[in-house]
Symmetry: D3
Subunit: 127 residues, 6 copies
C-alpha cells in the first residue's frame, strides 16, 4: 500500500448531534468541546495511518470561522496532510449541517502534529 492509499484509508469521520450537554450560554457549541473532538479525530487518524504509538506534539492555528448552533449536526473529518521521518500532520475540518435542510458548510479547521514513539517514549521512524 502506498502513502496515498494509506492516507485515503485512514480518513476518519465523527458525526455528532449538538445537544445541550455540549453548548455554552450563547446556545452554540462550546469551543473547548470542538477542540476535544478535533484532537480525538486527529489522534485516531494518525494512529490508523501509522498503526504505531502516536502522541500529540502541537496543534497549529485553529480557526473558528462560524459559530455552531444547538440543534445542528456536525461532522469532523480528519486526514493526513504531511508525513515526515518521525512526525506527521493531520488536518481536521468541522462541517455543520442543518438538520432539516441540506445546508452544510465548514465551520472550524485546524492542524495537529504527532510523533511516533516506542515503548520507552522515544521518537521512532514512521514506517
Amino acid at each position: 500500500m502506498n502513502v496515498q492509499e494509506q492516507i485515503d484509508q485512514s480518513r476518519t469521520s465523527i458525526f455528532k448531534a449538538v445537544f445541550p450537554n455540549t453548548t455554552n450560554h450563547y446556545d452554540t457549541l462550546f469551543g473547548g468541546t470542538a477542540m476535544q473532538l478535533m484532537d480525538e479525530t486527529a489522534f485516531i487518524t494518525a494512529t490508523r495511518f501509522s498503526r504505531q504509538q502516536m502522541v500529540t506534539v502541537c496543534s497549529d492555528k485553529i480557526d473558528f470561522t462560524k459559530p455552531i448552533p444547538a440543534g445542528t449536526i456536525i461532522e469532523l473529518n480528519g486526514y493526513v496532510t504531511k508525513v515526515g521521518t518521525t512526525s506527521l500532520k493531520v488536518r481536521v475540518d468541522i462541517f455543520v449541517e442543518e438538520m432539516y435542510t441540506n445546508a452544510r458548510e465548514k465551520a472550524v479547521s485546524g492542524e495537529f502534529t504527532f510523533v511516533a514513539i516506542d515503548g520507552n517514549k522515544k521518537p521512532v521512524k514512521i514506517i
Copy 2:
C-alpha cells in the same frame, strides 16, 4: 435524488478511541455506552436521510458478538435499510480495530426504527 442516492449520502460514521472513561471493570467497552453511541448514530442517519423531525420508536435485537477491549478504536456505521410511509429503519454496526495492526472485525450490530413527526408530534409522511 433517488432513494438509493439518499441512502448512500446519509451513511453516517462515528469513530471513537476506547479510553478509560467508557469502560467497565472487565476493561472492555461498557454495553450501555455502545448502545448510547448506536442510538446517536442511528438518529443522525435517519435525520440526514429524511431532513425531517425523527423520533426513535424502538430498537430491534442488538447483538453483542464480541467484547471491545480498552485501547482499541471503534467505528460505528449507520445506514438506512428500509423506508416506509411514515417510518424508516436504520442498521448500525460497530467495528473494532486494533490500534497497532490492521485487524478489524464486526463486534456489535442492531437496528432502530424511527418515525417522522410534525410540529404537533403527529406522524407525517417521509418525503
Copy 3:
C-alpha cells in the same frame, strides 16, 4: 434461598432527574441516554441475582412508547424474567413521574440477555 426470593432480592431501581445534560434538541430525554441507563440497570440486576461475572449477549426489542420531557423524574426498574443454564433475561421498564403531581406511567421497556462467564471468558453454569 429459592429462585423467586433471588429474583425479588435482585430487583434494582435507579431514579434520575431529567436535567439538561441528558436531553436532546426536542427537550426530551435522549434515547441513547435511556438505553445506557437501561443496560446499567440490567447489568446490576443480573450481577446481584447471580453474584457471578455476567456479560450482555443481546438486547431484545426496546419500545419507546412515550417521550420523556425535561424536568421530570424517571425510575428504571430491572428484574430477572427467565433463568437458563448459562444465561438469564432481565426486563427493564422506565417509568416517568411528573415532579409536581402524582402522575406516573411506563415510557420505555426492553429485555436484555446475559451469560455468566468464568475467568477465561468461557460460559459457565448459573448457580
Copy 4:
C-alpha cells in the same frame, strides 16, 4: 395519605456500578462523585415527598466511613426524616455491595435540608 405513607412512598433508590469513570487515583469512588449522587438522591426524595419545588438549603455532616473500591456496586437510599413547616430533612445512606458475594455494608451517610419555594422563589408551606 398520612405522613408515614408519604415517607414510605417517596423512598428513593439509585444503584450504580463503580466503573473507572467515577474513581480517583486510589482506585476508589471519588468523594465528590459520591456527594453529587447523594444530592441527586436527596433532591428526588424531597420532590417525590412534597410534589412541590424544593431547593437544597444545606447538607449536614456527611461521614465517609469506608472507602468504596472500583468494581463494586453501590446503592444510594434516600428517605425523609423530618418535616417542618417550610422545610424538610432527607437522609441518604450509601451501601456498598461486592459483586460476587452477598457482602453489603454502609459506607457513607449524610443529611440534607430542603425548603419548598413558590414561583417567585419565596418559601412556602409544605402541604
Copy 5:
C-alpha cells in the same frame, strides 16, 4: 517553610463557567455538581498542603446561601483552616460572578476533614 506559608501556598482555585451541562430544571447550578467541585477543590488543597496521601473523612455543614444562575462564572476557593496530628480541615467557598458586571458574592460555603494515610491505608502523622 512554616505552617502559614504552607497554607498560603496551598490555596487552590477552580474557575468554571456555568453552562447547560451543569444545571438543573430551575436553570441554576445543580447542588450535586457544586458539591463534587467542592470536594475536588478540598482534596487538591489538602494534598498540596501536606504532599501526603489524603482521604476525605467527612464534610461539615455546607450552606447553599444563594442559587447560582446559568450564564455566570463561579470560583471555588479552598484553604486549610486547621492542622491536627493526623487530620486537617479545608474550607471551600464558592463565589458567583456575573459575566458582564463586576458583581461577585459568596454563594456556597463548607468545610471538609481529611486524614493522611500510609501505603497500608493507616492514618499517619501530617508532617
Copy 6:
C-alpha cells in the same frame, strides 16, 4: 482601573486532579481534555477582563511539551497578553505538580484570540 490592573485581576486559575475519567490508554491526560480545559480557562479570562460577550476566533500554536501522567495535579493559568480594538489575546499555561513532592513544571502552553460582540453578534470595541 488601568489595563495592567485589569490584566492582574482577570488572571484565572483552574486546578484539576488527573483521574481516570480524563486519561487515554497511555495513562496520561488526553490531549483533547487539555484543550477543552484551556479553552474554558481562556474564555473565562477574556470575559472577566472585558465583562463583554466574547467569542473564540482562533487558537494559535499549542505546544504539548510534556505528557501529564495520571495521579498528578494540574493548574491551568490564563492571562491577557494583548488588547486590541475589538479583539484580545489570552495565554494559557498548564503546569503539572506531582502529588507527593513539590515538583512542578510547565507542560502545555497556547494562546487564544477572542473578539467582543454585541447582541447582533457584530464585533464591538473592547472598553
